[in-house]
Amino acid sequence: MNLLQKYLDDLRFIIGVLFMIFALILVVLGITEPVVPGRLNLNLYTGLFMAVFSGGMLFFSVRDQMKAEEGPKKTKASVAL
């Protein structure tokens, strides 16, 4: 619960989750819905771009949280040594 709270405190995580939901909806629609001939498949392209963007946000958020979690442990270990 504490860890979840930490993630929810990070705006990058919230943005990442929201845009990942949007990306999934758009990609599914892009694949399943017919596209007007001569027009770009905007749902698919935008969905893929959003997936990359939100993936990046989530990656950096999780990486920083893990670093923050490891930091104190390492310090304790070095003190013990």
């Binding site: 919230i14 929201l18 845009f19 909806i25 629609l29 027009r39 749902n43 392209y45 959003m50 963007f53």
Partner: protein, 552 residues
């Protein structure tokens, strides 16, 4: 425009997140400082994006697309001339005083630097202005939803007001700032595909250049005479009126935007906030102005695309963006695009309300009603001010629906108040001899001169109410607005100097940290040299000059 259940679902998901942010941040709000100033703990990337997002309201998103269709790429002057230089000036020269003086608001800085009457004049006019701006945003959103989706005016106004109230009341300024960042990404990612699809259809920038007259695709080439360009302004009016007076007056002194930099976690971050914000800001024209140009090309080349007409037969440019969304976006992306539009309205409204509640609590209530109450009391007053601000915004939206001319008049009056303000700050920060009496009477005379200039000149049927035969007719309302700003600023500047020389200045000890010559310059430690405010500012300035050159 017809939305499907998926589009409504997307809008619902967004609002769940918006409200969720407010509730998540609720436990962080323990004092009035947390509620009204975010506890001065926000990281640089968030303050920077919030800095431009607070301004990325309805006028920017809908209005700039409309101006793009009406004036062409010259509209980019509102960014490259009318914003970036002022943002850089704020970061490099003015933030050290705002942040270093420990003032909690822009009016409070005026109190520290000058006196109570100057602060009260600024606080009262600013508080009224923010509430009315917020109401105008709400009104515009309700009208848009009514015309696009057939939603009732009442439901749109109360629902939007209720959502903004809920997330500010729970999470305070931090919640508003976090949501502004969320809204920034939504606006950019929700509208950029439109530009991509439009450019793909019209053959890119080359296609636009081939289809439209040269005056629509150049920023500087037709500025020699006001008659040569669709804006009807010449180079002096553009650079002095927009680029100096109005731009610096807004970006450097308006608490709505300055507040976002003042909540940064240290002085260096506060200084870099507007400079870092200038980087995405200079690229926003490509998202909000290009749709207007693309729409113009489509009206010529695509038989299935047409902008709606006004009752007088002219094209309704305000509908450019909604019509483009409807034309290009399929189910799903349409929901995202519409959510982006709604987000832009709410972002503008939330920015105004959070600035209003801080100014009301610190500069009006604490100063004039109850000075030494416990902090919990001011937290309560801040919350009540939020509620009060939203209710006034709703009332303003109804007022605007009934009497549209009243809104024009109010905006005009507040324009008069804002125009001379930068002269007061410039003299106050850089000339230690400036006095409180000089600042107050300078501000007042600038406002009066602005009203007189509007009253004796005319443009597009507006103004000229003081004389039966106006002394001058401007080529456009924009040229008139720029000229009014120049007159207001100059009178404020001159009167402030004259009265300051005739009155007694504050002793040097009282001005340390408030005036340039008496303040130790901040020393940067622990920040790589190229990330410091001055080198960053130079890089941004070079980039914006390059943009102007490429599209000259």
């Amino acid at each position: 425009m017809k939305l499907s259940m998926i589009d409504y679902g997307i809008i619902a998901v967004y609002f769940v997140f918006v409200l969720g942010i407010g509730f998540l941040l609720k436990r962080r709000v323990k004092s009035s400082g947390d509620f009204l100033m975010s506890g001065k703990s926000i990281p640089l990337w968030i303050t920077s994006l919030a800095f431009i997002s607070a301004n990325l309201g309805a006028q920017e998103v809908i209005g700039m697309a409309a101006s793009g269709a009406k004036y062409g790429i010259m509209t980019a002057h509102f960014y490259w001339v009318g914003a970036i230089p002022a943002m850089i000036f704020l970061g490099v020269f003015m933030m050290p005083f705002y942040y270093g003086s420990r003032a909690r608001s822009v009016p409070e800085y005026l109190k520290l630097r000058f006196d109570e009457k100057t602060r009260s004049f600024n606080a009262l006019s600013f508080a009224a202005m923010t509430v009315f701006s917020s109401g105008v945003s709400l009104y515009a959103l309700a009208i848009l939803l009514q015309s696009l989706l057939g939603w009732s005016f009442e439901v749109s106004v109360w629902l939007s007001g209720g959502i903004v109230l809920a997330y500010i009341l729970t999470g305070g300024l931090t919640s508003a700032i976090y949501n502004e960042v969320l809204q920034f990404f939504l606006i950019v990612l929700g509208i950029a595909p439109l530009v991509f699809a439009g450019l793909h259809q019209v053959g890119g920038w080359n296609g636009i250049e081939q289809q439209l007259p040269a005056v629509m695709t150049h920023t500087w080439q037709n500025m020699g005479s006001a008659a040569d360009n669709p804006m009807g302004v010449n180079i002096f009016q553009m650079v002095m009126g927009l680029g100096f007076v109005l731009s610096f007056g807004y970006w450097c002194t308006d608490f709505l935007v300055v507040q976002r930099a003042m909540v940064a976690h240290n002085m260096s971050a506060a200084q870099r906030t507007p400079i870092v914000a200038a980087i995405p800001k200079m690229l926003i024209p490509f998202v909000v102005i290009l749709p207007g140009l693309i729409a113009l090309v489509l009206t010529k080349t695509d038989g299935s695309f047409a902008l709606p007409l006004k009752p007088d037969g002219r094209m309704d440019f305000d509908m450019t963006l909604p019509v483009m969304l409807s034309h290009y976006y399929p189910t799903g992306l349409l929901g995202i695009g519409l959510t982006a539009l709604m987000a832009s309205f709410m972002s503008g409204m939330a920015g105004n309300v959070t600035a209003f509640n801080a100014v009301w609590t610190y500069d009006i209530y604490q100063t004039h009603f109850k000075k030494n109450a416990p902090d919990k009391h001011y937290l309560w007053v801040g919350r009540m001010a939020t509620l009060f601000g939203i209710l006034l915004s709703v009332a303003t939206a109804y007022l605007a629906r009934s009497f549209n001319n009243i809104m024009d008049l109010l905006q005009l009056v507040f324009g008069f108040v804002n125009a001379p303000l930068f002269a007061t700050f410039l003299l106050g920060m850089f000339w230690r001899r400036t006095t409180g009496h000089g600042a107050f009477w300078g501000l007042l005379s600038g406002t009066v001169m602005a009203a007189i200039t509007q009253g004796i000149t005319i443009a597009e049927g507006k103004g000229g109410w003081m004389l039966s035969t106006p002394v001058h007719e401007f080529s456009s309302a924009m040229a008139q607005a720029f000229a009014i700003a120049i007159v207001a600023w100059t009178s404020c500047f001159v009167i402030t100097i004259v009265i300051s020389l005739a009155t007694k200045a504050k002793p040097a000890d009282e001005l340390r940290g408030l005036v340039y010559s008496l303040t130790e310059k901040p020393k940067e430690t622990g920040v790589t040299w190229y990330l410091r405010p001055a080198p960053l500012a130079v890089a941004v300035l070079v980039a914006v000059i390059a943009l102007n050159f490429v599209l000259r």
